[in-house]
């Protein structure tokens, strides 16, 4: 009944090119799904990690992020990762950067992704352009998808669950025309352990959030025994959460055992809370 119980963390990757994704697909053992989809989609066996290859450009990034959300039934506690290569004349070729500010030509206002706390990875301001840029002087990092990915992902979850990582692939000393497929894969590969480290933080917060929003253990059991309206269900869930801090499952079951209606279940649980004297020495 409660499928969510099986899924602890939930990660969704949006990556422009297959070459950027390959190392991730291998490491997380993501396999192509067995259906025809608008964009290529991969997932692991546990269905905790899903990855979509979005192609180049903002339209693709926006559409594929939304598509992956609905296709994979992502949740509010899903973490969203965008990784890819970027141009820069400020950072070092091959280094991995976290993004904490995004600008575009089109919009006056910038957006501000959060970054994982206490990371030693450097951070940069990303400029997302619709056309390849060869003058690197005005921006820290340049890509073609980041802003659209962030705009859509931040409608799907809190910004603390969104991460953009960029590896510098071109700049004044590394001509964009010299980028090859194998160079791209290699740039991601040399940063794999840093990427895994970042993603493990997003796995942790996703799992922690899941445990907080997950319904109390007894919720479905109780609902299967009595009929609860939507409002009553909400009341039941809230009461169970409150009672769980001082009462174990057996005691709760015993308390409601003789109830004949859902209303009396709620009343009995309510009385239990009314009579609770919090023992502050326990917490």
């Amino acid at each position: 009944m409660n499928n969510l119980k099986k899924m602890k963390n939930s990660i969704r990757w949006v990556v422009a090119l297959k070459e950027e994704a390959q190392v991730i697909l291998d490491y997380y053992k993501l396999k192509p799904i067995n259906e025809k989809t608008i964009y290529p989609i991969y997932k692991n066996e546990e269905e905790t990690h899903w990855l979509i290859i979005c192609g180049i450009g903002r339209n693709n990034a926006a559409a594929s992020t939304a598509y992956l959300y609905s296709y994979s039934k992502a949740s509010i506690y899903t973490s969203w990762i965008n990784i890819g290569i970027a141009g820069s004349d400020k950072g070092n070729y091959g280094d991995l950067y976290l993004v904490d500010k995004i600008s575009t030509y089109e919009r006056k206002k910038s957006t501000y992704p959060s970054t994982m706390p206490k990371s030693t990875l450097p951070k940069m301001h990303l400029f997302t352009s619709d056309i390849p840029i060869s003058d690197y002087t005005s921006y820290e990092l340049i890509d073609m998808e980041g802003s659209a990915f962030f705009d859509i992902a931040s409608k799907l979850t809190s910004k603390e669950f969104i991460c953009l990582m960029k590896v510098i692939s071109d700049g004044p000393k590394n001509d964009i025309k010299e980028i090859t497929k194998s160079k791209i894969s290699n740039l991601i590969k040399v940063n794999l352990y840093k990427i895994i480290d970042v993603v493990s933080y997003y796995e942790r917060i996703s799992e922690a959030e899941f445990l907080i929003i997950d319904k109390p253990e007894l919720f479905y059991d109780i609902k299967s025994k009595w009929h609860f309206s939507a409002t009553q269900s909400y009341r039941l869930e809230t009461l169970l959460r409150r009672i769980e801090t001082f009462c174990n499952k057996k005691d709760i079951e015993k308390t409601i055992k003789n109830c004949e209606t859902s209303n009396s279940v709620i009343n009995v649980l309510n009385t239990k809370i009314k009579n609770n004297l919090v023992n502050w020495s326990k917490f």
Binding site: D100, K101, K109, S110, T111, Y112, S114, T115, P117, K118, K123, H125, S154, K155, T157, S158, K159, E160, F161, I205, E209, I212, T238, R241, R242, I243, E244, T245, F246, N270, I273, K274, N275, N276, L277, V278, N279, W280, S281, K282, F283
Partner: protein, 330 residues
């Protein structure tokens, strides 16, 4: 350690901005247009932000001083409040800021000079009225004093008007600027307190009650006027013994001559705010207390509230006058 500081473009060169940034040399500085781009936007996770909040330096445009909510006073006929900061470095589980803002980042308004103008205007319009100002309604008024210097700054205004009271409400053990200054009779240093056992569970990241009491005692003996704020009163096993021990400990350890006032407040949340806070921390013991909907507020039942207030009040009357005791009822 603040990892990221967002700074509004308009105040990049403000002396207070420079003063504050100078204290965080290792932080990453990000320029922004308006603090609203970061603060209180939708789709933020308060709980995750609270673990590692950013700082936002901003310019406040208006509403520098506002009338305090009904029931907030300590005996004056007019009460006002101002906040140079939104949010708090502490993480008290009953704090209304958790339900008020969707962001846990700290906003500091650096244009203190505009607070001065508004405060002086109100003072001049109320010269013949008993007025109290409350500093830090949307934050802890002293917790970040070593970063902002706001209390030190604002004291210079109140030094000119000894008939106008100002209360700094805090849980911090920040002794400066008070320890180095000559006490002012119109300044109340008001400390929020509850039994240590409850505080250990509820006042996350705040100094322990015993440390607070030590500082209160030091400042009182220096001559500063002290306010004791038992707000909110927390219910639970042995609450009578716990409050008795706390009250007696305080009254026996501070100079009662310098005790300005004592107030008791009940634990109350507007219904919606409770829902938001409960969503953030559904497994908190506080929410397993006998709280229910009473008069559009989630609170203890009125009998519990009254029993707690009168118990604490009666105990306090052994040490202080009835006129020094107030009920905080917002």
């Amino acid at each position: 350690m603040i990892e990221t500081i967002y700074v509004e473009d308009a105040i990049q060169n403000h002396p207070k901005t420079k003063f504050i940034l100078n204290k965080f040399k290792k932080s990453r500085i990000i320029s922004i247009n308006k603090y609203g781009e970061i603060f209180n936007k939708r789709n933020q996770n308060f709980r995750i932000q609270k673990a590692n909040p950013c700082l936002i330096l901003a310019h406040k445009k208006d509403n520098f001083v506002l009338p305090a909510p009904e029931g907030f006073g300590i005996g004056s006929s007019k009460n006002f409040y101002f906040s140079h900061m939104y949010n708090c470095i502490y993480d008290c589980r009953y704090c209304f800021l958790q339900g008020m803002y969707s962001s846990a980042n700290y906003v500091i308004f650096v244009n203190f000079e505009d607070f001065d103008i508004s405060i002086e205007k109100i003072i001049k319009n109320n010269l013949n009225t008993k007025v109290t100002f409350f500093s830090g309604y949307d934050c802890d008024s002293l917790a970040l004093e070593n970063v902002t210097g706001f209390a030190k700054h604002i004291l210079s205004i109140f030094r000119k008007y000894p008939q106008i009271e100002i209360e700094f409400r805090t849980k911090s053990i920040q002794k400066e600027p008070f320890l180095s200054l000559k006490p002012m009779r119109n300044v109340i240093l008001a400390y929020s307190l509850m039994p240590e056992l409850m505080s250990n569970s509820l006042d996350n990241k705040a100094p322990s009650i015993s440390k607070r009491i030590r500082v209160i005692s030091q400042l009182a003996s220096k001559g500063w006027k002290i306010g004791l704020r038992f707000d909110p009163l927390i219910h639970g096993e042995n609450w009578k013994e716990l409050y008795q021990e706390l009250l007696e400990n305080i009254y026996n350890n501070i100079s009662i001559d310098n005790l300005h006032s004592v107030s008791f407040g009940s634990l109350r949340f507007p219904k919606r705010m409770f829902r938001d806070i409960f969503k953030l921390y559904p497994h908190e013991p506080l929410f397993s207390s006998p709280l229910s909907l009473n008069n559009k507020m989630i609170s203890y039942d009125i009998e519990i509230e009254e029993e707690m207030t009168s118990f604490c009040k009666n105990l306090s009357l052994k040490y202080i006058n009835e006129g020094q005791i107030f009920k905080c009822s917002i």
